[in-house]
C-alpha cells in the first residue's frame, strides 16, 4: 500500500484539494471565441466564393453580433482576473511564448476588424440607413473596395482565433487532460460548428439552412472523430494521461460528458440533420440549439476536467 499525504495542513483556496482557479468565465470566453471565429469564417468564406447574396444571414447579418460577442467575452475575461486593476498591462506586453498574450492581442485586432466587416455590409442590409458624415461614406466605399482582402485576413484570423482557444489549454502541460495537440483542432471545429448552427437558427432562407445543415453535419462528424482520438491518444500516453482519460471513462465527468456533449450535443443533432437532408420535416432550430448548447457545455467540462487532472498526489 502506498499512502501519500500532506501533513502540514496545506489548503490553499482554489488550489486544494484540487485546482479550481477558472470557473465559468474562461469557458464562456472560449466558447464566444469559437462562435465568433465560426461566424466570421463563414461570412468571409462565402464572400470569397462569391455567394454573399445567396447566404445573406451568414455573410451579412450575423457579423453584426461579433463585436458585441467579443465584448462580452472580454468582460468575462476581466471578471476572471484576480488582479483586475492591473489588467491593462495585458496590452503593454507581447509575449510570444504565452498563449494568454496571443489571445489578448488577437482579440484586440479582431474587435475593430469584425466591426468594420459588419458595418461594411450595412448599405446592403439597411438600404435606407443614411450615413451622415462624409468621411464615413468615403471610408465605407474604401472598405467595400478592399473587401476581398479583408475576407482573406478574416479567414486567417478566425482560424487562428478558433484554434487558439484550444491551444491555450493544450499549452499547459501541467494539466495532462489538456496536454494534447487535438485540443486546438477540436475547439476550432466546435467553433465552426457553432457558427453554422447560429446561421441555421437565424436564417430565413431554406436553401441557406440546408447548406449549413450539410456543413454542420460534416463538422460534427469530424468533431466526433477528434473526440475519439483525443481519448485514444490519452489512453496510449503516460500514466498521468491515462488517469486524465479515466476522469471521463468511469470518473466524475463520464455522465455529463457523454450524455450532454456527445449524445445531446453531437450525435442527436447529427441524426436530426441527416434526416433533414433526407427531406424529413424537422424543425431545424432544434438541432442547432442542441449544437450550441453542446459546444458551451463541452468547454465547461473540458476546463473543469483539466483542472482536476494533475501530475502529483
Amino acid at each position: 500500500m502506498i499512502e501519500e499525504l500532506i501533513i502540514s495542513g496545506r489548503n490553499n483556496p482554489e488550489i486544494d484539494p484540487h485546482l479550481h482557479i477558472w470557473g465559468w468565465e474562461i469557458p464562456l470566453y472560449l466558447f464566444i471565441g469559437g462562435l465568433v471565429a465560426g461566424i466570421l469564417f463563414f461570412s468571409a468564406l462565402y464572400t470569397i466564393l462569391g455567394k454573399e447574396n445567396k447566404y445573406i444571414t451568414a455573410v451579412k447579418w450575423l457579423p453584426i453580433s461579433t463585436p458585441i460577442l467579443i465584448g462580452i467575452g472580454l468582460l468575462a475575461l476581466l471578471f476572471d482576473l484576480s488582479h483586475v486593476l492591473y489588467s491593462w498591462q495585458l496590452f503593454t506586453n507581447i509575449r510570444w511564448e504565452s498563449p494568454m498574450s496571443w489571445g489578448a492581442w488577437t482579440l484586440l485586432i479582431m474587435t475593430p476588424l469584425s466591426a468594420i466587416w459588419a458595418v461594411s455590409w450595412f448599405p446592403d442590409i439597411f438600404p435606407k440607413l443614411d450615413f451622415k458624415y462624409d468621411w464615413l461614406k468615403i471610408g465605407l466605399k474604401r472598405v467595400i473596395s478592399i473587401r476581398i482582402y479583408l475576407a482573406w485576413s478574416l479567414i486567417v484570423l478566425s482560424v487562428v482565433l478558433g484554434i487558439y482557444t484550444g491551444i491555450l489549454l493544450s499549452a499547459f502541460n501541467a494539466r495532462p487532460f489538456w496536454n494534447t495537440a487535438i485540443m486546438g483542432p477540436l475547439f476550432l471545429t466546435s467553433g465552426l460548428s457553432a457558427g453554422a448552427a447560429t446561421t441555421i437558427i437565424f436564417s430565413k432562407n431554406h436553401a441557406e439552412k440546408l447548406n449549413f445543415a450539410k456543413i454542420d453535419l460534416g463538422l460534427i462528424i469530424i468533431e466526433l472523430f477528434f473526440i475519439i482520438h483525443l481519448f485514444m491518444g490519452h489512453l496510449a500516453g503516460t500514466q498521468v494521461h491515462i488517469e486524465a482519460a479515466k476522469l471521463f471513462l468511469g470518473g466524475p465527468y463520464t455522465t455529463s460528458f457523454w450524455i450532454f456533449v456527445v449524445v445531446l450535443g453531437l450525435a442527436i443533432p447529427a441524426f436530426l440533420e441527416a434526416l433533414e437532408l433526407r427531406k424529413y420535416k424537422i424543425p431545424s432550430f432544434i438541432s442547432a440549439v442542441l449544437v450550441i448548447l453542446g459546444g458551451l457545455i463541452l468547454r465547461f467540462i473540458v476546463v473543469d476536467a483539466g483542472q482536476a487532472s494533475r501530475w502529483l498526489y
Binding site: M1, E3, I7, S8, G9
Partner: protein, 747 residues
Amino acid sequence: MTKNFSRREFIKISGTGLGGLALANPIFNKALGAVLVPDKLPGLYTKRIPTICEICFWKCAGWTHLNEDGEIWKLTGNSDDPHSNGRLCPRGTGGVGMYYDNDRLKTPLIRTGERGKQVFREATWNDAFNYIAEKMQKIAAEHGPECVALFTHGSGGKYFTRLMKAFGSPNVAAPSFAQCRGPREVGFFATYGEGIESPGRLDIRDTRCLVLIGSHLGENMHNGQVQEMSDAIDNGASIITVDPRYSTVASKSKFWLPIKPATDMALLLSWIHVLINEKLYDRDYVEKYAFGFDELKAHVANFTPEWAYGITTIKPHIIRATAREMANASPSVIVHPGRHVTWYGDDTQRTRAIAILNALLGAWGRRGGFYYPEKVSIPDVPQPTYPKPNRSWRDAFPGKYKLANLALASGICDATIPTAQRDCSFKGWLVNGTNLISTIPNQKNTLEAIQNLDLLVVVDTMPMEITSYADVILPECTYLERYDTIRNSPHRERTIALRAPAAKPKWNTKPAWWMAKELSKKLNLESYFPYDTHEEELDWQLKQIGSSLEEMGKIGVKNIGREYDDLFPMEDLADFEFNTNTGKIELYSTSLEDEGYDPLPKFTKHEEPPEGYYRLIYGRAPMHTFSRTANNPNLTDLMDENFVWVNPKVAKEWDLRNKQEVWLENQDGIISSNSIKVRITERIRHDSVYMVHGFGHTQKQLSRANKRGASDSELISKVLIDPEMGGTGMRGNFVTFLTEEPIKGAE
C-alpha cells in the same frame, strides 16, 4: 579548572550556603526601565528582545523581533543557546500565534454560578485577590495552610511556590513528575545516584548508537534532542527504535523493532542477558564502578532472546543483532531513558532496566553516552525563613510511593476527595499553567476532587477546560509580554538566559510575579517579595552571579563555562564515588530493596485488549504541545485536529473509510465527547490505535480548538499506579469504535 573534592561533596556544600545573605536594599530609579529599550542592531534585524520560549519545557532561548511598527513580528533562536542553537522548533516559531490569539483570557473572572456551569462575572484584580486571600485564610484557620496546594507547569510557578511556602504549605506539585518523567528520575537515581533532569544529560550528538524505547524523537519535538539526533545521523550513527508504531524516527532507524505493546521489559531483560552471556558488556567499566553484577547475572539467566521472542514477537536473531550493535558502539551508546514514561505501572522498574543497560554498555559518564551537566545556582531573594509545615502530601499516603522525591499532582488530586482513612483533605488548589483536566488521567476522579474544593484558582493564558471549574480565573499575559525567572537549566556548560517582555500585556492580563506579589500583600506575606518591580528582583539576582539585567537584555544568553572539568568523569575510568548507598553504580538497587521494592527489574505481564478493542496509544505531533497550542492560529494552520490511526486490516473488519468520523468507547464504557476522523495507515499495529494528545476540546471559547478531534485523556480512565513513586500509567486503556453518534446522556 579542576578542583580536588568530589562531586558528591560539592552537592552537599552548595545546598547549605545561601540562607544567610544580608538583606540588600538597593535604590533603583525609573531609568532602569530605559535599560531594556532594545538595541537597534545593524543588518537584518529591526529590533530584538531576548526571550525564552514557553511553549514546551525545553526552554529554548531566542529573540523576539519587532517590525517597523514596533509590533511583535517573529521569533528566532539565540545562537549562543545550547538548547536551541539558534533554531526554534515549529511551536517556538509559531509562538507569535499565542500572543495574537484573540481567544485569550482578558480579565479576572469570579464564578457566580454553579461550578462547571461557566457563569462568571468580570472582576478587578483587587476583587479577585481579596476573594482568594479570604478563602485561603479561611482554609488555613479551619484546616491548616497545608491544605492549600499549588499545581504548576508554567514559568511563573517559582513565584507562586514562594508564596505557598511562605503561606505554610509545602504541597507544590508539577504534573511532570507523576504524570510524565518521574519514573525515570527515580529509576536512574536509584542506579546512579542522579536523575536525568531537564533538558536531559544525553550526549546524542556524539553517540554512535541511539536506542529508543518508545521515544518518538521528531514527533516529540524537544528541540535540542532532535537537532543532536540529526547531527548524529550526519556522523553515521545508527538508531535502534523499539516501538509498536512506525514512528518518524523508526523510519530513520537501522533497526525498527515493532514490539508488541506492554512487553518492553522482556526485551530489555533479554538484552541484558545477551550482553552478559555473550560477554559484550564493558568489563572494565562494570568491574570498576558497578555493584551487584553477580546478582544481576543470576537474575537474567533465563531471560533468553527465545523467551523474549514469545512475549514481544521480536525474533531472537534481531534481539541478538541489536544487542551487538549497541555493544559495538560502546561506550558511545545511549539507551534513551525516555521522557513521558508513565505507561504500565512498572515504569520505575523499566527505567531501572534501561539504567542497568547503560551501565553494562559503559555509557554513563562517557562521551556519546550520558554527560555530567552543570548549572548555575541562582540565589533567591532575601526573605524570612519559611514557616515549618505540620504535614505534607506524603501524610496522605502512609507507606506508599516511598521513592517519590517530588510531590505527586495526581496524589494531591486524590487526597482532595475526603475518605474515612484521612483526617483531612486538600481544600484549595492554585493551578498555574496546566490544564489538569487533560493532564491527570481518570477525569471522573479529577472532577470529583474539584467538587470537594472550597477554592479553585486558575492562572492561565487561555480559557482551557480547567478554567471552566474555577472559582477565580486570573488571566496571565503570554511569555512574550513578561519577565520570568532566569533560566539556569543544567547542560554541558553553565548558561543563564533571560526572558524579557517585547510588548505590554494585552487587555487586563498580568505576569505571574505581579500576581504573586499582590496576593502576598493580601496575605501579609509581602516580606517575601521585597522588591517593588520584577526588574529590580531580576537585576539583584543577576548581579549575584556576575551579570546584570542590562547585560542580559543585550545578549539574551550568557555562557559561564564549567566550574569542574568533569563533563565525562568515567571516560578514563577515574575514581568516582556515586551518590548511592554503596558509592557505586547499583545494578542491584539497595535503596529499592531497603524500601521493600524489587531490587532487580522483573517482567510483569500486562493486560491485553479484549476482543473488539484496541490498545489506545497516544503521542505527540511536532507542531503542537499538548493542549497548550491547540488554539494557536499559526499552529492550527498546520494541524487543527487529530486522527485515530487504524491498521488497514482493522479498517476492513470494521468497514471504515479514510476520514470517516467515529466515536471511541473505552473498556469502562466512557465515550469520547467529540468524534474523530479515521486515518487508515500501515504505520500502526493491528492490535492498537494511535492518536496525538491534546485535541478534543470542549470549550466554546477556544474558537479554533473546540470540537476538533477527540481527547485521549477522556478515555484514560484506568490508571496503573507505579508503586515505587506513584506514577500514573496511562497505556492500559482499550477502545472500540462507534460508527454512529452516540445518544447524549447515555453514558
